[in-house]
Amino acid sequence: MTKLVTAVIQPHRLDDVKSALEAAGVRGLTVSEASGYGRQRGHTEVYRGAEYTVDLVPKVKIDVLVADEDVAGVVEVVIRAAQTGKIGDGKVWVVPVEDVARVRTGEHGDDAL
């Protein structure tokens, strides 16, 4: 069986996370742009006479399908590679997957990873 590991991280950690996952044997992933809202917000700035609070901070979202047995390892790899120790580092979560297929071949299941 397969799980979906989703990570929301700081954009400038993406390269390191990609490399770390590759080193850990992950062969594919999907990335998208996102904006995060959390404790990190609060920084205020003045611009042309009005004060603004930064509210949504740019983040990157990574989706990785992983075989059951690798999940814990992958989560740790992501955390280690993405961690800076500052507020706003992001979250990782795991969701069960009932089926996976590779579009090119139509294969299903772990073979499709």
């Binding site: 700035e45 003045v46 611009y47 042309r48 006479g49 009005a50 603004y52």
Partner: protein, 435 residues
């Protein structure tokens, strides 16, 4: 007046007219970059629309109303040169410099166009395009042509023996002893547009979300591009206003540049002190503030005086753009803070800094200063009243605002059926039929 063609002066005026015409699309970028991504095109269309309407109106009756035979010190005879008919080189405003009448018309038309377009920045994101187009044609007729006539066409605010200054300080050799100075349009263009902007901003009301939602510029490089094209075009505006390719044009060119440099630096420093950052929006706005302020003064100051004028204008305008929050009017893109304030600063500082014994610092008396303040005030009152009446009439008839839904969803899509940018990856429309 006898006319002998001077091809050099004519070449410079042709170039200048072309440069000034480019300023309005430049303004479209200056303004278009400053709005949010959902109202870029509407903002630009207000400038392009102003070109369309005013370009035609100017040729039909605008030139006559500005430079035709004086009627009561207020306007020229509107149909004297209708469609430029019967205009001979001898009768030309620039005939003294050997510049053919039509070249003079070309140059002047571009000033009328940009003046109208300037106003649009105060009423961004929410104004009916149809109302704007009607306003453009009527306002230029009722406010711009008369003011141009009063100041440059020998009317009430000129050195004419029947004018305001002659009435107060008397005449010498048949002209006012203290000639009011508006070299290239501090009153006619900037105060005129700036006060109209203020009136309309109040009349039309705030954008939904004003001072609550962030309404930061969606594309600052466009703002910089606009500022650059404005500066470039402004050489035609100011150095062209010498009416000839001569030393006065050279002086106006140099003064325009140093005042603008000084205003940019002044704005950046003011901003850095107050807000902690020297911004690109500040640089672009400082450029425009400097250009505005030096406009009436470009031929009347020396370069060091121009630097002083520029710094003052840059700092004051940087502070003035915050007033809208204090007083609660939504002058969206700071037309009041830059053009009204900058225009007044430039017009009044002439009273201190004008060389040839005219300004307080050089001549030692305040007559020039008094008359400068008076022409600034006259322009404010005249244009303010005309704009208010016209604005109210249009409010009652056509209405000024688009629906709230159109405003929130984006005026570009609602009014023009377009969005400025199509996202790259995912197409959002499918073709269903071709007509």
């Amino acid at each position: 007046m006898d006319f002998t063609l001077d091809s050099g002066n004519t070449a410079w005026l042709l170039a200048s007219a072309s440069l000034v015409l480019l300023m309005t699309p430049g303004l479209a970028f200056f303004y278009g970059g400053m709005v949010r991504g959902k109202s870029v095109l509407n903002m630009m269309m207000m400038s392009f629309g102003a070109i369309g309407v005013v370009g035609i109106v100017y040729v039909l009756w605008g030139y006559s109303m500005s430079f035709g035979t004086d009627v009561g010190g207020i306007i020229g005879k509107p149909f004297e040169f209708f469609g430029l008919d019967g205009l001979t080189d001898e009768a030309s405003i620039l005939g003294w410099a050997g510049v053919p009448a039509l070249v003079g018309v070309a140059f002047q038309a571009t000033f009328a166009i940009i003046t109208v377009a300037l106003i649009s920045g105060a009423i961004a994101d929410r104004t009916k395009f149809s109302t704007w187009m009607v306003f453009a044609g009527i306002w230029v007729t009722l406010s711009y042509f008369p003011l141009a006539h009063m100041v440059w066409g020998g009317g009430f605010l000129s050195a004419s023996p029947d004018g305001l200054s002659a009435k107060i300080f008397g005449t010498t050799d048949g002209v006012a002893t203290v000639a009011p100075i508006d070299f290239a349009g501090g009153t006619v263009v900037h105060i005129n547009a700036g006060i109209a902007a203020l009136v309309l901003a109040i009349l039309i009301g705030k954008r939904k979300g004003f001072a609550k939602e962030p309404m930061r510029p969606h594309n600052l490089p466009f703002v910089m591009l606009g500022a650059a094209l404005l500066w470039f075009g402004w050489f035609g505006f100011n150095a062209g206003s010498a009416g000839a390719a001569d030393g006065v044009a050279g002086l106006a060119w140099v003064n325009t540049t140093v005042a603008t440099c000084a205003a940019m630096l002044g704005w950046l420093v003011a901003e850095k002190f107050r807000d902690g950052h020297a911004t690109s929006l500040g640089a672009a706005s400082g450029v425009v503030a400097g250009l505005v302020a030096i406009t009436p003064a470009a031929g009347a100051l020396n370069p060091v005086g121009s630097i002083i004028l520029g710094v003052i204008a840059g700092v004051l305008c940087a502070l003035a753009v915050g007033l809208k929050y204090k007083f609660g009017y939504d002058d969206s893109l700071d037309v009041v803070g830059v053009h009204l304030v900058g225009g007044v600063v430039g017009t009044v500082l002439i009273g201190f800094l004008a060389t040839d014994d005219r300004g307080l610092f050089y001549g030692g008396d305040a007559k020039q200063l008094v008359i400068q303040v008076l022409i600034a005030l006259s322009a404010i009152v005249f244009s303010g009243v005309i704009t208010l009446v016209l604005g109210l009439v249009l409010k009652a008839t056509m209405g000024w605002r688009v629906s709230e839904e159109a405003e929130v969803g984006g005026i570009d899509l609602a009014v023009h059926g377009e969005t400025a940018y199509e996202t790259l990856g995912i197409g959002s429309r499918v073709v269903t039929e071709v007509k």
